[in-house]
């Protein structure tokens, strides 16, 4: 047990150090520094939200278009950002492999955590702002919003854990990433609620864990204004299996990694 506790201490120390390092290399120390990490999702969600409000009017299917757009886009950009950052991750951090206590899993986790914290801050910030402006409902049940966010994040993390080692094994993967993340959009639940779809379509999209998570989050926001469709167990199980597979891949890749 002592060595397990010690291992935990070392890993938390390493993850902390890697996060600080990543933040300084990516955002620098000038002006607002690491707060930049929430600017991108913030602009994305707000500007697209304004665009949609002009195109569709302020409400659609009985919910605020702005709120619908923000609640869809922030998780989507979290997914896209994390996924694109996990490709080629090991090559970029190669020189750090000289330190034995740094595991390649730490790289994946650290990049994801930075995206995650940034997007969560952006979400929180926008929500407060839009609630104050009266275009976002006060969340009906904050617990469901948080739970959905955690489900969505867990799924995203498990995808990152597969992509990081897979991109190391095959360089072709990188070429297909942009189009794949684009094609994934219909299966992320961003642009619809499951109840708007036909029964057949709903059946298909609910095979994808992020749709469940998105439904949870939107139920947490809109409550009675929608009929949510989600399962607690299925998305968790899929993500857990993917994560386990990803960890296996990481292990395999580490064995064959050639460090300069």
């Amino acid at each position: 047990m002592a060595s397990l506790a010690q291992g935990w201490r070392i890993q938390t120390r390493v993850i902390g150090a890697l996060m600080i390092r990543e933040l300084t290399t990516r955002f620098g120390r000038e002006n607002i520094g690491f707060l930049w990490m929430m600017v991108e999702p913030l602009l994305f969600a707000v500007l697209v939200g304004i665009l949609w409000t002009f195109m569709n009017g302020p409400t659609k299917h009985g919910v605020s278009v702005m709120a619908f757009c923000v609640s869809g886009y922030i998780p989507l950009v979290l997914f896209r950002g994390s996924v694109s950052r996990s490709v080629g991750l090991f090559q970029a951090n190669m020189s750090l492999m000289y330190h034995r206590q740094i595991k390649i899993m730490d790289f994946v986790l650290v990049r994801f955590l930075i995206e995650w914290i940034g997007h969560m801050m952006a979400y929180f910030f926008i929500m407060i702002l839009l609630i104050a402006l009266g275009v976002f409902p006060v969340p009906y049940r904050l617990g469901f919003l948080l739970l959905g966010w955690l489900y969505y994040s867990f799924f995203t993390l498990s995808v990152c854990f597969i992509l990081a080692p897979a991109s190391e094994m095959s360089e072709i993967l990188e070429k297909f990433m942009p189009v794949t993340t684009y094609l994934m959009i219909p299966f992320s639940g961003t642009f619809y609620m499951a109840s708007w779809l036909t029964a057949e379509a709903r059946h298909v999209v609910l095979y994808f864990p992020p749709v469940h998570a998105m439904e949870m989050m939107r139920y947490g926001i809109f409550g009675h204004h929608m009929t949510p469709h989600f399962d607690y167990f299925y998305p968790l199980a899929v993500s857990a299996v993917m994560l386990a597979f990803g960890l296996l891949l990481c292990r395999r890749v580490r064995r064959h990694l050639v460090v300069e």
């Binding site: 120390r13 600080i20 390092r21 020189s95 492999m97 330190h99 034995r100 460090v259 300069e260």
Partner: protein, 215 residues
């Protein structure tokens, strides 16, 4: 102790594999100083990377019962885009040591002055070697892995290394990969000659050097 048991390492090359190390067995006791001799491409650096845990053996096992430094060379261990100070801070964090002390040691040992505020990629190889040495000497290890790098420094740097490594820390183990006969003769108690994926350990350094010179 460091135990290396039946170490094999091969890399993919074209359709086949290039076998760099073919079944190495040896151990290194605390306080022992061992030189690795071999021609370019004989696998000295590869072996040091395996001992340091930077790369994993294709088969076989490395067991470390004492703390082992990361391999000191020109490349790995630090981030080129970060400054010398940032690298020092990072090392202090991941090894859990006091940054103020480490910083003082690094400033004193490297004599790089304001250059420490510049990104490491702007350093000359001599300056990089100074920083690499300073960082790893600032963390106390039972065994230091040194890959050639000691050779690039100027006279003053070698003096400092000599003092820090061979006088102040004369009780530590050391593995030195080198082409320099004089370095190995001066500092090592044993030496291993690497050739064709095999390693032969000699308890007499001069004998090892004779074999090495005939390669």
């Amino acid at each position: 102790m460091i135990h290396c048991h039946d170490l094999h390492k091969s890399y993919p090359m074209g359709r086949g594999r290039k076998h760099v190390l073919n079944g190495l067995n040896f151990h290194i006791s605390p306080g022992e100083r061992v030189g690795f001799l071999g021609r370019n491409g004989a696998g000295k650096t590869t072996l040091i990377k395996l001992i340091g845990g930077v790369e994993m053996p294709t088969s076989g096992k490395v067991r470390r019962d004492m703390t082992v430094s990361w391999p000191l060379g020109f490349g790995g261990g630090f981030q080129g885009s970060l400054t010398g100070y940032d690298n020092a801070r990072f090392i202090a964090r991941i090894y859990g040591s006091e940054y103020a002390e480490l910083r003082e040691f690094v400033e004193d040992f490297t004599e790089l002055g304001r250059q420490l505020k510049m990104p490491v990629k702007t350093y000359s190889s001599g300056m990089k070697a100074r920083l690499a040495f300073a960082l790893s000497l600032a963390i106390e290890f039972d065994c230091y892995l040194i890959d050639e790098v000691i050779m690039v420094g100027d006279h003053n740097f070698r003096e400092k290394c000599h003092y820090e490594l061979f006088e102040k820390r004369s009780d530590r183990a050391l593995i030195l990969a080198s082409h320099s006969a004089s370095l190995v003769r001066e500092y090592c108690g044993r030496a291993m000659v690497l050739e064709g994926g095999q390693g032969t350990m000699f308890s007499d350094v001069n004998q090892a050097l004779d074999v090495y010179n005939t390669l």
